[in-house]
């Protein structure tokens, strides 16, 4: 299958290893990956902060870039939630845009959705001999209803020791510009999340969204907590090292 990767702007810029891991996993499963250099962003930051026309412009660019893509893989739950929850409304009233959204949206898959729903795989042949806990990003559970897909994928990894995270569905406090506009409340929410992570005794915290992980990881690093954040794609790509 030819799979087009929409990596998400922040992964492209700050977490390229996540993109490489997605490529590794999908190629290992026998698929061909393409990366369209024209891609930029989904528009979430602008939309959520109230910059509507700007967000529409970015949406147009996304639709333009991916209009003829067969399958689009996105290793970021919140970007997919942005598209599914908001693109149809943003396009409403403009027949051309409406058609473009209706055309592209059904072909967009969050990474773990793609593996389980489209490709029918739970065991991707990974080995990861570490103690891991799973945070479930708000957008993945409440907007995408992703359920236990990440859990099932991780359970099939060899050598992994999975420890459940208390209140895993409670927001970590990132929330995009919220983390800056209400930095203190955001940090208080983060502290609760870090405490729950510490209680698991895991050395790795994973999730399907690097935006949460950037925030959680930033806090863990500041506290020298001895826990690293790793995107789920990187665990699924691993075959025993790191």
């Amino acid at each position: 299958m030819l799979i087009s990767l929409f990596i998400a702007c922040y992964n492209d810029s700050l977490f390229p290893e996540t993109g490489k891991a997605v490529v590794t996993v999908l190629e290992r499963l026998g698929h061909t990956i393409e990366f369209r250099q024209a891609q930029t962003c989904c528009g979430q930051m602008h939309y959520n902060t109230g910059y509507y026309p700007e967000a529409v412009g970015i949406m147009r660019h996304f639709l333009d870039t991916f209009k003829d893509a067969e399958v689009i893989c996105v290793p970021s739950a919140s970007c997919v939630a942005m598209m599914r929850d908001h693109y149809p409304k943003m396009a409403a009233g403009d027949p051309v845009l409406e058609a473009a959204v209706a055309e592209v949206l059904p072909r967009v898959y969050e990474f773990t959705e793609l593996l389980i729903d489209k490709l029918g795989v739970t065991d991707v042949g990974a080995t990861y001999p570490h103690t891991v806990t799973l945070h479930t990003p708000c957008h993945s559970i409440r907007a995408l209803h992703i359920g236990d897909r990440p859990q099932r994928l991780l359970e099939a990894v060899k050598g992994i020791k999975l420890i459940p995270l208390a209140n895993a569905d409670q927001c970590c406090g990132f929330g995009g510009t919220f983390a800056i506009k209400n930095a203190e409340v955001s940090a208080a929410m983060l502290n609760e999340k870090m405490q729950a992570i510490a209680e698991t005794g895991a050395t790795i915290c994973t999730a399907g969204d690097n935006s949460c992980l950037m925030h959680i990881g930033g806090g863990l690093s500041r506290n020298n907590a001895g826990v690293r954040c790793v995107h789920i794609a990187e665990i699924l790509a691993s075959q025993g090292t790191s």
């Binding site: 492209d12 700007e54 406090g173 983390a179 409340v185 208080a188 990881g217």
Partner: protein, 464 residues
């Protein structure tokens, strides 16, 4: 017309108020314990309902219909209530509602009233207006009594004294009720309040309530509560006044079936409220001899006019969104500067009070969506928060630095070549990144290490 929502017009912005509250360990512990208790109870009783989603859909549909035909239902209510012997008053804003109330009380030469818990009268600051007119309001709901005795402010929609624990309440009662001895068990505290209130229930001639629902078809008013104080207030006095927001109307008595299942389970985690009082007009020889209803607008028709955020008026004040909100959990309700706190407060207060006074509230959310998930009337709070942020931006009220940053980002994202250049700049110095990240981020979090090569460079360079 002057619209005010409690003291929201004078409140500090959310960030400043939150800063103070985050330093209060006692309040934070109280809030966390109380919200967790209610949240767990709610989850249990909601979980046992096989048709919960159907009920939510029905409630949302009923409310949509009401809001589309509000004029008709309000007039139908007025006609039915009047026919049953009630008197209906229309109030454009808080001050007018207060003036009507005072007029009725003074018309009976009374100088005190007993009150059932009513958010709407907190919205109009009725107690302040009454005291200025020489009338003493006695709050009879236990939590409202705690707030009144302590000259405090409510911090929660359903349990307004949630920020206080038993020890603090015991001290307050001993001090304000002049008690030399008082046990520390909840039963002891309730007994002290009962003693204090009983005499007032029997003496005072005017009762005052809000309403959870008002039935257009029959002109009936419904109040649900847990302590029985409401039942006393609506049955013992000679004169009864009920003040309610115009959105509290439901078309028919049958609709109560839906809401009386949703509300108690969502609000207090009970299958049914201990006391459900529904009354219609006046009945000779039974209950109050005179019944007044004050229908309050106070900005509601303004909300109604905005199709994008109209469903804010679906709210039945269950506060399930507060109990589940991870932001409210950290700060408690006082940070919101309004009697309407938490996620619903963050959308309701700015719309009623006017955005210029409550500009910070639509940003008091990480948009995690937990509120929408539990809302019994399906208010898409995150979507409305975003809509209100958009209104702030469109009004030109967003901070200039943010506007410049967002414009630059939009310019960058319009073309991948520009994005490539921006990425290069970030890699070169790591400085622009820190400048964008702002001190707020770095106070508690490290920035990720900027990689030497972006993904697109890696790909373009042959994946080496």
């Amino acid at each position: 017309m002057s619209i005010h929502v409690g003291e929201a017009a004078e409140a500090p912005d959310f960030k400043k108020a939150a800063h103070v509250l985050l330093g209060n360990k006692q309040v934070r512990a109280n809030v966390r314990r109380a919200t967790e208790t209610i949240r767990n109870k709610r989850a249990n009783v909601v979980g046992e309902m096989p048709d919960w989603e159907d009920l939510r859909n029905s409630a949302a549909a009923i409310k949509q219909n009401v809001l589309r035909n509000l004029d008709t239902y309000l007039e139908q209510f007025e006609a039915a209530c009047t026919k049953a012997g009630g008197k209906v008053h229309w109030a454009r804003d808080a001050d007018e509602a207060n003036r009507i109330s005072i007029g009725i009380i003074q018309g009976h030469q009374q100088t005190e009233i007993i009150k059932v818990k009513t958010m709407t009268s907190d919205e109009t600051r009725l107690n302040v207006a009454l005291e200025a007119a020489g009338i003493t309001p006695w709050e009879t709901d236990l939590a409202d009594l705690i707030i009144q005795l302590g000259h405090d402010k409510p911090s929660h929609i359903v349990v307004p004294a949630l920020h206080k624990n038993k020890t603090e309440i015991r001290e307050l009662f001993m001090r304000t009720m002049g008690l030399t001895e008082l046990g520390s068990k909840p039963e002891d505290l309730a007994a002290a309040a009962r003693q204090y209130l009983r005499e007032r229930f029997l003496r005072v001639k005017v009762g005052f309530s809000g309403a959870n629902f008002a039935v257009a078809e029959t002109g009936s008013v419904c109040v649900v509560e847990s302590e029985g104080n409401g039942r006393m207030c609506v049955t013992l006095p000679d004169v009864m006044i009920t003040m309610l927001g115009i959105e509290k109307i439901i078309p028919s008595f049958d609709d109560l079936e839906v809401f009386l299942q949703l509300l108690p389970r969502s609000a207090t985690g009970e299958r049914m409220n201990p006391y459900n009082s529904i009354w219609t007009g006046v009945t000779p020889g039974d209950g109050p001899k005179e019944f007044h209803v004050i229908l309050l607008d106070n900005g509601r028709t303004k909300v109604l006019a905005d199709g994008e955020s109209r469903e804010t008026l679906h709210c039945i004040r269950c506060a399930a969104c507060l109990n589940t909100c991870p932001v409210y959990r950290q700060t408690g309700g006082h940070a919101y500067g309004s009697i309407y706190s938490g996620p619903i407060g963050a959308i309701l207060t700015p719309q009623l009070q006017g955005m210029e006074h409550s500009q910070s509230l639509p940003y008091a959310s990480s948009l995690c969506g937990a509120c929408y998930e539990v809302c019994p009337v399906k208010i898409n709070i995150p979507e409305i928060l975003i809509h209100l942020r958009r209104r702030i931006v469109e009004n030109g009220d967003a901070p200039q630095t943010e506007r410049i940053g967002m414009n630059m980002a939009a310019f960058t994202f319009a073309d991948s070549k520009r994005l490539g250049v921006a990425q290069k700049l970030v890699q070169l110095g790591n400085k622009p990144m820190e400048a964008i990240a702002l001190p707020g981020w770095s106070a508690a979090r490290d920035m990720p290490v900027v990689p030497k090569e972006t993904f697109r460079e890696w790909w373009a360079g042959g994946r080496k």
